[in-house]
Amino acid sequence: MDALQYGPVGVFVVLSAAFAFATLVVAYLLRPADPYEQKLLTYECGIVPFGEAWSKFFVRYYIIALMFVVFDVEAIFMYPWAVVYKALSHADALGLYPAVEMAVFVGVLLVGLAYAWGKGDLQWISET
């Protein structure tokens, strides 16, 4: 029965994708099509585009993505803890235990954030 919870999700995926494609098909049937050489050029402020569009990009994006993976996974780990936190510290009378435990976990990650900060990886434009 639990898997049934996700039934509507499936229905939504199918229906909204169907809607999106349907609008594209309707547009395809209604719209004019008159492509020519100049129209198919990519926009580059009015000049003829030069070089490759699929070029190298800034390495900083890569570092941000790495940091994101760390912190996102960490946030996911915090969710189950957040759900039971109040119950653990009150009903189960564990007191400070759950809070301290999470503080240690987050503390380790914050050291990591401080390290990245100190290394200048949070700086979009690096001075070096």
């Binding site: 809607f19 609008t23 547009a27 209604l30 990519t42 402020c45 996102d72 759900v83 510290s89 900060w117």
Partner: protein, 359 residues
């Protein structure tokens, strides 16, 4: 509402009767219910989006002491339907050398991801989409599907074969993943308070005298509230965080090479995302479908109305912010997320954790 629920109960019983008689599994009734619900929610969202586009132009107009659209229909009401029609009739230009499949799939995926968030919104006391649905991972699910949309943006930016598009897509991806972290942290605070991930449960735990039970009245949840709205504004790429489509530096960002209905899908999705920020914000902090005059509502106004009113208020607030704050530079944007909001998010969790020990 009671008439409506009587009709649906009767319909359901009738359909289940038919199923039993002909030996069709009862799941068929559920699927039919989901289909009906999904169609109505998608229709509602599309209508709301049309209205929001109009509203945005009106609000922008009034902020700048002009009237906004006035010509098409009474007080310009038909402006956005006409714009939608125009987009439908416009030529679809796919630049040479573009990856055609990615170019088409990008906007579709972006749209689907945005619509998926609507599955778990509790519209009324007993009405999420259908019978089985108050997903017990509710809020986590919303943030999860919201980040799927980023893949659509990257597809669009990469598939366009245009430098501006690629840069815009990279920037919006960096921005959206950066601001997702403070948003997740802010939501954790609410989850700790409500002790549940289900949006229905979160609303239920906000019941109290009149509107005093809402989470916006608890001082230890103010920091998460502020964080949530800053991060959510960035998530939906609105000013002051509209770096991905900063006209003055990136032309139009990831949708530079889009025209016609594909552009229309991007446009539609952006406003659908704004609406979901309104709905989720209202659900997390402003009591969702709860009436401000006590529950059940003394005037018998359906909860759906209150949820919409709150979401609308939040959306108007976002539009107001748009004309109040200047756009951030890309380096300032990243610094704000990583150096201010994320440490503040951990601080917020710490505060809530300490307060909950005593409350």
């Amino acid at each position: 509402m009671s008439v409506l629920s009587a009709i649906t109960t009767w319909l359901r019983d009738a359909l289940e009767g038919i199923c039993q008689r002909y030996g069709i599994p009862l799941l068929a009734v559920d699927i039919l219910a989901w289909l009906t619900a999904a169609v109505s929610v998608i229709a509602l969202v599309l209508l709301i989006v049309l209205f929001f586009v109009y509203l945005e132009r009106k609000v922008s107009g009034y902020v700048q002491t002009r009237l906004g659209p006035m010509r098409v229909g009474p007080i310009g009401l038909f402006q956005t339907p006409m714009d939608a029609l125009k987009l439908l009739l416009k030529e679809d230009i796919v630049p040479r050398g573009a990856d055609k499949i990615l170019h088409t799939l990008g906007p579709v995926l972006f749209f689907v991801a945005a619509m998926l968030g609507y599955v778990v919104i509790p519209w009324d006391a007993k009405a999420t989409i259908a019978r089985h649905v108050d997903l017990n991972i509710g809020i986590l699910y919303v943030t999860a599907v919201a980040s799927v949309g980023i893949i659509g943006l990257i597809m669009a930016g990469w598939g366009s074969n245009n430098k501006w598009s690629l840069l815009g897509a990279m920037r919006s991806a960096a921005q959206m993943i950066s601001y997702e972290v403070p948003m997740l942290l802010a939501i954790i605070c609410v989850v700790m308070q409500a002790q549940s991930l289900s949006l229905g449960q979160i609303v239920n735990s906000q019941q109290g005298t009149w509107l005093l039970g809402w989470y916006c009245w608890r001082p230890w949840l103010w920091l998460p509230l502020i964080l949530f709205f800053i991060a959510a504004t960035a998530e939906v790429n609105r000013v002051p965080f509209d770096i991905p489509e900063a006209e003055s530096e990136l032309v139009a960002g990831y949708h530079t090479e889009y025209s016609g209905m594909k552009f229309g899908l991007f446009f539609l999705t952006e406003f659908a995302n704004v609406f979901i920020v309104g709905l989720v914000g209202a659900t997390l902090f402003f009591g969702g479908w709860l009436s401000p005059f006590g529950n059940p509502d003394p005037l018998h106004i359906p909860g759906f109305f209150w949820l919409m009113a709150k979401a609308l208020a939040i959306v108007i607030f976002l539009m107001w912010v748009r004309w109040t704050l200047p756009r951030l530079r890309v380096d300032q944007l990243m610094a704000l997320a990583w150096k201010l909001l994320i440490p503040a998010g951990f601080l917020a969790i710490f505060i809530v954790a300490v307060v909950l020990l005593y409350v």
